[in-house]
């Protein structure tokens, strides 16, 4: 930081050095800036622009000959019951999925934090394993487990429960996908919460024990308040992923039955498949807005942690 100022003895060489440094620095950034501009910034703005046009698959050859239709695509979206449905499905997925994921992850983190040594490492690896696996691959086995006469229903039958046809029943399909998402994502939050718990000072806990606080009391009055930033951050991180859920529905239900698992990302993909690029872009921007709001929250959280 202060390097360029210290380096030169007199004014002229210092400024020359600084100029050379600036050129070198931008040279270092060039590959990133080029890729970033072409493959991220460009499409990001392109998507925004396309959402105000009637762009379809046929316009690929002449992308600039499309008609600007203003907010027509957005009003088409908002009057499409399937899009509204997808908003609802995504909202349920996020609002139900996140608290469950957080509760399970917190319980695991608390249980693992009390112990130590190799055993904890084994549990951590085991519970984390689903996180590294391809959603497509695990969705295949989950679909197999959730068949009407699959493993889950056979297990339920042992205790006298007649399980539903999980993935074909409109009221059970989304809960099934949430269950799988919880299974796959708990590991991430568990690791983040564990790191947060390990940062809770030992002496604060000891002081609470001295004051005669029981384990539950310590959890509610000491640990959780200290963990609040970590919990919030975890919630934000995971919600960005949950807002985009797509693969689960693609492999397990194809958005059905009766659109009961049609997410906004899936709706976007479908419209893209129909060649309705303008409409798909508009749908993706609605999703982007939600994710941007959540990311903004995360940015603020990160900033408040830095200081």
């Amino acid at each position: 930081m202060a390097s360029s100022r210290k380096a030169g003895a007199s004014g002229a060489p210092a400024s020359r050095r600084r100029r050379r440094q600036a050129i070198v620095a931008w040279g270092f950034c060039l590959p990133f800036v080029a890729v970033f501009t072409v493959f991220m910034l460009g499409p990001l703005l392109g998507s925004f622009a396309m959402s105000f046009t009637d762009f379809t698959a046929r316009d690929i050859r002449t992308p600039f000959a499309v008609n600007v239709v203003g907010i027509d695509q957005y009003s088409a979206l908002l009057s499409d019951p399937r899009f509204l449905r997808s908003l609802g499905v995504t909202a349920v997925f996020v609002v139900v999925g996140i608290p469950i994921t957080m509760l399970v992850a917190l319980a695991l983190a608390l249980a693992l934090n009390s112990g130590g040594g190799r055993l904890v490492a084994i549990f951590r690896v085991g519970f984390y394993a689903p996180v590294v696996t391809s959603i497509v691959a695990v969705a295949v086995v989950w679909r197999y487990i959730l068949q009407p006469d699959g493993l889950l229903n056979q297990a339920l039958a042992l205790v006298g429960i007649q399980g539903p046809n999980w993935l074909q029943d409109p009221s059970w399909a989304l809960p099934s996908l949430i269950l799988m998402a919880v299974w796959r994502n708990v590991g991430t939050l568990m690791v983040i919460f564990l790191a947060g718990l390990q940062a809770v000072p030992e002496d604060v806990q000891e002081a609470a024990v001295m004051d005669g606080a029981g384990p539950l009391r310590r959890l509610v009055s000491v640990t959780l308040p200290l963990l609040r930033p970590t919990l919030l951050l975890g919630a934000v991180l995971i919600s960005v992923g949950y807002l985009q859920f797509f693969e689960e529905a693609f492999v397990m239900t194809r958005g059905g039955p009766l659109d009961s698992t049609l997410s906004v990302a899936y709706y976007t993909y479908q419209q893209f498949g129909f060649g309705q690029y303008g409409l798909a872009s508009a749908a993706s921007y609605v999703l982007f807005l939600a994710i941007a709001l959540v990311s903004l929250l995360q940015f603020r959280l990160l900033r408040s942690q830095d200081s």
């Binding site: 930081m1 390097s3 210290k6 600084r18 600036a22 070198v24 620095a25 270092f28 950034c29 590959p31 990133f32 800036v33 890729v35 493959f39 460009g42 499409p43 990001l44 392109g46 998507s47 690929i60 992308p63 693992l112 009390s114 112990g115 085991g126 984390y128 394993a129 689903p130 996180v131 696996t133 391809s134 497509v136 691959a137 695990v138 295949v140 086995v141 679909r143 197999y144 487990i145 493993l151 056979q154 951050l233 991180l237 985009q244 797509f246 693969e247 693609f250 492999v251 990302a265 976007t268 993909y269 893209f272 872009s281 993706s284 982007f288 994710i291 941007a292 990311s295 995360q298 940015f299």
Partner: protein
């Protein structure tokens, strides 16, 4: 007193519950592995058998002989390797510039990186596809690799680490007359082992499991990556051939699970750093 006396039994109980929980947690993996070596007849049998009665390698053989596993595996590997390499080189270059060199536009660049940290693929894939089509790159490795060859997350990760390298080390090299390129290559990079390992693993993981963009950009079997191939078989005419599909799932997740078990420290550190720092 009561706290110390209750502790051992509470601990045993906690671990008992955790063990049962972990066993349940890993059932899908076990069921996947067991199903992958069952014959179609046994898969359809009700009630299902837990342990395979006549273990068969036919499902795996079909992937190699009939379904072109080698092609998909090669595609996944080539794409992941190129993506990892690009991220290691390019992200550390930007990370170094952002952390240790003063230059006009630096702050703006960093803000842009931070703001786009979370831009999801679903927002950009439509215009990206239009562009890639215009360039005639559909169904090429270039289309699969280039959008991910450097990422804001990687830049952020490297910058955070390089910020912590003492300026005095760089000053010493500068006084010796070393240019920025030399300082970067000879002083900074040798210290960056840990974040490069984390970045490499995170990138490999997201590339290996990446789905939406390869699904859109790879339009023939010759360029399918493993998840794309598996998803298309599992929703196509083989949708109920579970022995085959489970064998495919085993083939997709085994490399990554082995990597994870071998390098779990780095995986978990990666999550903790990107989540918390």
């Amino acid at each position: 007193m009561s706290v110390t006396r209750r502790r051992p039994s509470a601990k045993v109980l906690t671990y008992a519950v955790l063990t049962v929980g972990l066993a349940a947690w890993l059932v899908p993996f076990a069921w996947m592995a067991l199903g992958s070596v069952k014959t179609q007849g046994e898969i359809l049998q009700r009630p299902p058998t837990w342990w395979p009665e006549n273990p068969t390698g036919a499902n795996f053989a079909a992937w190699f002989d009939r379904l072109g596993f080698t092609t998909y595996f090669t595609n996944s590997l080539v794409v992941a390797a190129a993506t990892v390499l690009g991220n290691l080189v390019f992200c550390s270059m930007v990370g170094y510039a952002l952390a240790k060199v003063d230059f006009p536009g630096k702050r703006a660049l960093f803000v842009v990186v931070m703001v786009t940290l979370m831009v999801p693929g679903v927002v950009t894939f439509v215009p990206l596809f239009v562009m890639v089509s215009k360039l005639g790159l559909v169904n090429t490795y270039a289309a699969l690799v280039l959008p991910f060859v450097t990422t804001p997350l990687g830049v952020f990760l490297m910058r955070q680490f390089i910020l912590g390298i003492p300026d005095s080390l760089l000053e010493a090299a500068r006084i010796d007359g070393a240019g920025e390129l030399r300082i970067f290559a000879r002083v900074v990079m040798p210290l960056c082992g840990p974040p490069l390992a984390t970045l490499g693993i995170l990138t490999f993981l997201s590339s290996w499991n990446n789905f939406l963009w390869p699904l859109v950009a790879a339009q023939s079997e010759s360029r399918y990556t493993l998840p794309v191939a598996l998803s298309l078989y599992s929703t196509g005419q083989n949708a109920t051939d579970y022995g085959l599909l489970l064998a495919g799932s085993v083939l997709v997740i085994t490399p990554i699970l082995l990597l994870f078990v071998a390098l779990q420290r780095y995986f978990i550190r990666g999550v903790a750093t990107t989540g918390l720092k």
